[in-house]
């Protein structure tokens, strides 16, 4: 029984880290793309993402921080929740049936995931804006590019950057999706066992 609580907690940790990493990577990608786009000649004609260098640097820094901190952040979060009793300690999970523990972890997980999902959605939106921005810039300058083959690598590197981070983002997205599906499958199992355990608990305290 305790293995359910441990499985839930391990999934929660892995998925939260996946969420944060995906988010950090996407933000970093958006920031770098914006940086590339705003430093290219096309940006003067097409300033779709041009609120200035400060915004760009802020996005890059924020993305880098999010990308770098999921592990320590999660450990702090787990310690904090354990102290508050929102989630049970590993000791309780390892030694006890702790179905209530599993249910509490799932509840906490849902709360955090809704926040992380919103953050991830904003990052995806920023990616789309960046893609449109770079895409439009490249399309506008296509005739000029075709006429000057020598300048292709220099002109296309922002596009390559976008493709790279988008690929990484999609891979992480798949990872997050898989973890979420695993938790969804586990959730009814935990709930069913939890209901039976609560019934046993109620009967025990009535009888003894």
């Amino acid at each position: 029984m305790h293995s359910i609580a441990l499985r839930v907690r391990s999934l929660w940790e892995r998925t939260t880290v996946a969420f944060l990493r995906a988010d950090g990577l996407l933000l970093l990608g958006v920031g770098l793309t914006n940086l590339a786009e705003s430093s290219s000649p096309q940006s003067i004609a097409n300033p779709m993402l041009g609120p200035g260098w400060f915004f760009t640097v802020a996005i890059v820094a924020f993305g880098a921080v999010i990308l770098a901190v999921p592990g320590p952040l999660l450990r702090r979060s787990v310690r904090w929740h354990t102290r508050r009793g929102t989630i049970p300690s590993l000791e309780t999970m390892t030694h006890g049936p702790s179905l209530d523990a599993a249910a509490r972890v799932i509840g906490q997980m849902r709360k955090e995931w809704s926040f992380l999902s919103a953050q991830l959605a904003i990052s995806v939106l920023l990616v789309v804006v960046a893609l449109v921005s770079v895409g439009t810039g490249l399309t506008n300058s296509a005739p000029k590019l075709l006429g000057a083959a020598g300048s292709w690598p220099a002109q296309l590197w922002p596009f390559a950057l976008v493709a790279t981070f988008l690929g990484c983002g999609l891979a992480l997205w798949g990872w997050v999706g898989r973890s979420v599906r695993q938790v969804r499958r586990l959730d009814p199992e935990v709930r069913a066992v939890d209901a039976r355990f609560r019934q046993l608990e109620w009967t025990f305290w009535q009888r003894f």
Binding site: M1, P97, S98, L200, E201, T203, F204, R207, F208
Partner: protein, 96 residues
């Protein structure tokens, strides 16, 4: 000492099971160490189980009273062992 708001059934099982399987009589401190609980939690659960008549303190004038499992405590332990086995679907405690 604050009473327990919602006692953890497993901790109750652990306490009763420790007393039942111990090879020698245990006093409070020995039982606390054997059951692997911190002092505050142990005192709360001991108080609960004694009040419910599942455990008893057999002092007989001794400085360190011995904790014993009552017949009601034994029944409770068996009830929980069977119940948990049904809930978990595997052997949770070794039934005597």
């Amino acid at each position: 000492m604050e009473p327990l708001q919602r006692p953890d059934l497993y901790v109750v099982v652990r306490l009763l099971e420790t007393v039942r399987t111990s090879e020698r009589p245990l006093n409070r401190t020995q039982l606390q160490v054997a059951s692997g609980m911190n002092y505050t939690q142990f005192e709360r659960y001991l108080d609960l189980t004694v009040r419910r008549g599942l455990l008893a303190l057999n002092d007989q004038g001794a400085a360190h009273p011995i904790v014993v499992l009552t017949p009601k405590g034994y029944d409770a332990l068996m009830f929980l062992a069977r119940g948990l086995r049904e809930v978990v679907g595997s052997e949770f405690l070794t039934l005597p």
